[in-house]
Structures are given as structure tokens and as C-alpha cells.
């Protein structure tokens, strides 16, 4: 056994991963935060301190867009929380039913949308909801609900909610799987003990199973939060970089892309883009901290 000196094999094992990770992920992350403090005039970059943030929050044109995007993002996340979680939990609860036939088949089929790209999902739903093709209005008419139809993606008041629901449709497979796994890990004895005390059926679910799967629900919530606050693809695919109609579906990801790359007449501004990215970083950091220190530590984990 060597007692002193550098163990070279440890260095060799660690170096490639650390190098790539540091150079491509951590360094650019901090460099982006730094670039937010600069601006460019006549192709010369110079330090301006917090001016970009002052513009972002102080200038009515910018701050209006920022708060709009942030508010939309919050709504997007809210829809996920109130729709995706209940559906995911319900599906998982049904699937974990002992002696259910074809469970594996259902699981595989329901997970299919999750593996498709946003491009496929976005265009597919755009076509299906399109008033030109008429699939949705015809189907609604067939069940006597024709009056419910509106060009959902083209109306300011519905577009964002519709997109959030499409995103829920796509990702419900993940909460379903994670909660399904959590439900399976609950030992029979616990449920039997409940049965002896007369707790069965729905009350067994509410009183025994739900408290036991809370940690999983917490993990799913934070994964959804991080995913939603750097979402971009779905909105870009269906509504374009302008996140129409009238910016009603603009979220932080599309706002940053537009600012960074420019669109139509507005020139791209990497420094303002960095400022928005810094804002997103802050929001995600706050969310993750709330989860790690505020929620996760309070959720009791049960070891069986």
C-alpha cells in the first residue's frame, strides 16, 4: 500500500468526467451569470454592473415581458400540479391493484407519449386541435358537446392552458411510474394491519398509502418544477418564438431565446439573454432550496 504521494489512478479515473462537466456545464453556467453584467456597444464588450437587471425589471417594456413570462410559467406549473399529479396517482393506484390483468401492457402504452419529442407532440396536437382539419370539433359534436369547441391554441385565453394540458398528457407517465413503484414497495403487512382495523378500499388509500407515497410526490413536484421553468420546445414548436397569440404563451424559456437570438426586427442580445438566464437560475435555485430544506426534511420517510 502506498502511503504518500498522489494516487495517479484516482486522478485518471476522475479527470475525464470532471473536465467535461466543469468545462461544458459549470464554467458556462457561471460565465453566463458574469456575462449578465456586461453589455456591448460597437462590438466592444464592457462592464455595466447591474444595468441589465435594472433594464429587465425597471424598463416597462422589458419588465412587462418578464413578469408576463414568469406569470405564464407559474400557471403552466400550476396546471401540471393540479392535473398531472391526480391523474398520475390515480393511474398508479389502479395499476398497482393486485391481480390486475394486462398491467404491463397498460403501463407500456400509457408511457408512449413520454418518449415522443416535443416536436412530434406539439405538431400532432396542433393538427388535431386545428379548426381546418376538424377532428376535435367533429368528435365533440358527436357527443353533443360541439359548443365547447374553440380554436384552443389560437385564443389568448385558452392557449396557455391547452399547452399545459398537452404537456401533462405527454409527461403523466413519469409520475405514474414513480408512484406505481412507491405503491408496490408498501409491504402487504401494513395493508393487512389496516384491514384488521377495518381500513379498506378508499380509506386505505387515503389513510395508509397516500402518506407513504408523499416523498415520491415531492420528488415528482420538484422534477416538474425544474422541467417547467426551463421548458421551451413545446411552445416553440406550436406557437413559434413569438409565443403567440399576443405573447399569451410566452414562458421564460421562449423569452430568453427571443432575447438572446433576436426575432424579426429585434436584434439578439446575449447579455440581456444572460440576465434572463440568471433570473431563471435564481428561480430554479429558490425552488430546489424550498424543496430540499422546506419540504423534503419534513416528509417522513419510512423504511421497511
Amino acid at each position: 500500500m502506498k502511503k504518500s504521494g498522489i494516487k495517479w489512478h484516482v486522478v485518471v479515473f476522475l479527470a475525464p468526467a470532471l473536465l467535461v462537466y466543469t468545462a461544458i456545464m459549470i464554467f458556462p453556467l457561471f460565465n453566463t451569470l458574469r456575462l449578465a453584467l456586461y453589455t456591448e456597444t460597437d462590438q466592444v464588450r464592457h462592464f455595466v454592473g447591474l444595468d441589465n437587471f435594472r433594464t429587465l425589471f425597471g424598463n416597462a417594456h422589458w419588465s412587462g415581458q418578464f413578469w408576463n413570462a414568469l406569470g405564464n410559467n407559474m400557471w403552466f406549473f400550476f396546471i401540471h400540479m393540479i392535473v398531472q399529479h391526480p391523474i398520475g396517482i390515480a393511474l398508479a393506484a389502479i395499476l398497482s391493484h393486485p391481480r390486475l390483468r394486462f398491467a404491463a401492457l397498460y403501463r407500456t402504452a400509457i408511457f408512449v407519449p413520454t418518449i415522443l419529442s416535443f416536436v412530434i407532440v406539439g405538431f400532432a396536437w396542433k393538427l388535431i386541435l386545428s379548426p381546418i382539419w376538424g377532428i376535435t370539433p367533429d368528435m365533440l359534436k358527436a357527443v353533443g358537446l360541439g359548443w365547447l369547441y374553440a380554436p384552443y391554441l389560437g385564443k389568448e385565453e385558452y392557449a396557455l392552458t391547452t399547452l399545459a394540458l398537452i404537456s401533462v398528457w405527454q409527461f403523466v407517465g413519469i409520475p405514474m411510474m414513480l408512484i406505481y413503484a412507491a405503491l408496490l414497495s408498501i409491504p402487504e403487512e401494513v395493508l393487512e394491519a389496516g384491514e384488521v382495523d377495518g381500513i379498506t378500499g378508499f380509506s386505505a388509500f387515503w389513510k395508509i398509502k397516500l402518506p407513504l407515497i408523499l416523498p415520491s410526490i415531492g420528488i415528482i413536484s420538484i422534477l416538474t418544477f425544474v422541467g417547467n421553468f426551463n421548458a421551451f420546445d413545446l411552445i416553440y414548436t406550436t406557437q413559434g418564438a413569438l409565443a403567440g397569440p399576443a405573447y399569451s404563451t410566452d414562458i421564460l424559456g421562449t423569452f430568453m431565446y427571443r432575447t438572446f437570438f433576436g426575432f424579426q426586427l429585434q436584434l439578439g442580445d446575449p447579455h440581456m439573454g444572460s440576465a434572463i438566464a440568471s433570473g431563471m437560475f435564481g428561480i430554479i435555485l429558490i425552488g430546489v432550496c424550498i424543496y430540499l430544506f422546506g419540504i423534503q426534511t419534513r416528509l417522513r420517510r419510512y423504511q421497511f
Binding site: H9, V10, V12, F13, L14, P16, A17, V20, Y21, I24, M25, I26, P28, L29, N31, T32, L35, I87, I94, L95, H97, R99, L100, R101, Y106, T108, I110, V112, I115, L116, S117, V119, I120, F123, A124, W125, L127, G134, W169, M177, A181, L191, S216, I219, I222, N230, F232, D233, Y236, T237, G253, M256, F260, F261, P270, G273, S274, A277, I284, V288
Partner: protein, 279 residues
């Protein structure tokens, strides 16, 4: 639940509920696929009908083949995905082994440092990544994408793999050391084969997001020669919005490879998720 088990009515209700949701999940894919084989008139006249002798046509696919270079896009996606998986697995396993096997100063700290990347999305650093890729001349090369996805995949890979490497028996490794094997041989010959299931899980977890990503191909490699299938179909469909046959065929062609991968790996993927590897 024991009451429900015995009740046949409940079990019918359960299947009705599951079938309904399965239909909702598969409906859009189904509609796209059947209509991609139909003539334009039939697409609009009866969107839910299956193609038959009169309405069957491959015109959409012909347009796609003529206008878009889907084989090139597919090849690019394939190269990026496979190369990234190779680097993520190799570098990830090496780092995981070092963290799990050796005690050295800063071990815990390095682990935490790598774990940072699990929660923080790499997209936040896009502005600086693009600047770096421009400076190094990697823009519009597949290497730009491979590097970014490798950096993105490593944190979770190290995390999952080191959990598994801790379970590899010490006796085995020490026996190897007594036989005079080098640390490298121990890693490649003894440990790697034992964590193969975990490597498969990591591979499947990484594969789908890389294949489906639109953001980085759009920003780092939008040139015609380096378009991935996801970006390629996005651009193609954007240009052919009014040609419904072409759009539906392009969508179907984009769905196909993912579905094939899913059919091959679904068991691995589902087992990976349900075994708690992501907790």
C-alpha cells in the same frame, strides 16, 4: 382493497378506466399514422377512417424523401446519441468507481459538486456555451452536441453508478489486487461487467432526452449537414405547413425510430424507473 378484489363489477370499471386513458394516450399517434397513408381528400373527408384501397397513397412519404434529407438527419441523431452514451457511460463509470472505491480528501465534496448538475439544467448556461463553441470552432459540428449532452448526462450517471459500485463485493476486488491486477484491470475486467444492468439503466435514461432535444441542435448545430432528426423534422414541417400529406408523413417518420427504440428498451426503462434509480 380486498373487497374490490372480489367484486367483478369493480374490475370491469378498472379496465374501462385504463382502456379510456390508454386510448387518450395513443389517439394522437394513431391519427397521425393512419392519415399519413391517405390521400389529401380522404384526410379531410374522414380523418378517423383507416386507409383503404381508394384512399391509400404514399405521396406524403415521397415528398419527404425528395425534399428533406431524413436519412442524414437520422444518421446525425444516431451518431450524437451513440457517441454521447459511450462517453457518459465510460467517463461516468470511471468517476463513479473512483468516488465509490477510494478514500481521498475531497471525495464527498467532489460527489456533491457533480450532483449539482442533476438539479440545475444545463440550458441556463446556453449563452456562454454558444460563445465557447463559436470560439473553438465547434459550432455546427456534431461534437458540440456530443460534448454538451455528455456534460448534461454525467451527473446522474455518476450518481446512479456509484450507488451500484458500492455494492460490488470488496473481496472480489481485493482478490484481484492480491493476484497483482492493476486498478485499471480491476475496474474494466471485474467491476464494469458487474454493473452492466445499472449502465443499461443510465443509457436508457439518457437516450430519450438526447434524441428528442430541440434546444441545443437549434442553437449549436442548425446547419443542414448537422441537423438532428428532431430539428430536421421541426424545420421541414415548418416549411411544409400546408402540405398535409408531407407533414403527416414527416411526423410518422420521426415517430418510428423512437417507437422502435422504445419497444426494444421499454422493459429496461420501466424497470429502471421503478427500481428507484432516480430517487
Amino acid at each position: 382493497m380486498s373487497n374490490a378484489r372480489a367484486n367483478p363489477f369493480n374490475s370491469i370499471a378498472v379496465h374501462v378506466a385504463l382502456l379510456t386513458y390508454t386510448a387518450i394516450a395513443l389517439f394522437p399517434v394513431f391519427v397521425i399514422l393512419i392519415n399519413s397513408f391517405k390521400s389529401r381528400k380522404a384526410i379531410f373527408r374522414d380523418p378517423l377512417a383507416l386507409p383503404d384501397g381508394d384512399t391509400f397513397t404514399l405521396i406524403g412519404y415521397q415528398t419527404v424523401m425528395k425534399q428533406g434529407d431524413f436519412f442524414l438527419y437520422f444518421q446525425n441523431s444516431m451518431i450524437v446519441t451513440v457517441a454521447t452514451l459511450f462517453f457518459v457511460l465510460l467517463f461516468g463509470a470511471m468517476a463513479a468507481f473512483a468516488l465509490a472505491e477510494y478514500r481521498f480528501k475531497g471525495n464527498l465534496l467532489l460527489g456533491l459538486y457533480l450532483a449539482l448538475g442533476i438539479m440545475i439544467p444545463i440550458r441556463i448556461g446556453t449563452v456562454a456555451i454558444l460563445e465557447m463553441m463559436v470560439a473553438s470552432g465547434l459550432v455546427n459540428t456534431l461534437w458540440a452536441l456530443i460534448l454538451v449532452y455528455t456534460a448534461q448526462g454525467l451527473p446522474l450517471a455518476v450518481f446512479i453508478l456509484s450507488e451500484f459500485m458500492r455494492q460490488v463485493s470488496d473481496d472480489l476486488k481485493n482478490a484481484g489486487r492480491i493476484d497483482g491486477l492493476s486498478e485499471y484491470t480491476i475496474f474494466f475486467r471485474l467491476v464494469l461487467p458487474l454493473v452492466r444492468p445499472a449502465m443499461a439503466t443510465v443509457a436508457v435514461f439518457n437516450m430519450i432526452p438526447i434524441w428528442n432535444d430541440l434546444w441545443f441542435p437549434l442553437i449549436l448545430a442548425p446547419a443542414e449537414e448537422t441537423k438532428t432528426l428532431t430539428l430536421g423534422s421541426q424545420v421541414f414541417i415548418g416549411q411544409f405547413v400546408t402540405d398535409w400529406n408531407a407533414v403527416l408523413s414527416a411526423l410518422s417518420m420521426a415517430i418510428l425510430p423512437v417507437m422502435i427504440l422504445y419497444v426494444i428498451f421499454s422493459r429496461q426503462l420501466i424497470r429502471g424507473i421503478t427500481s428507484g434509480a432516480v430517487k
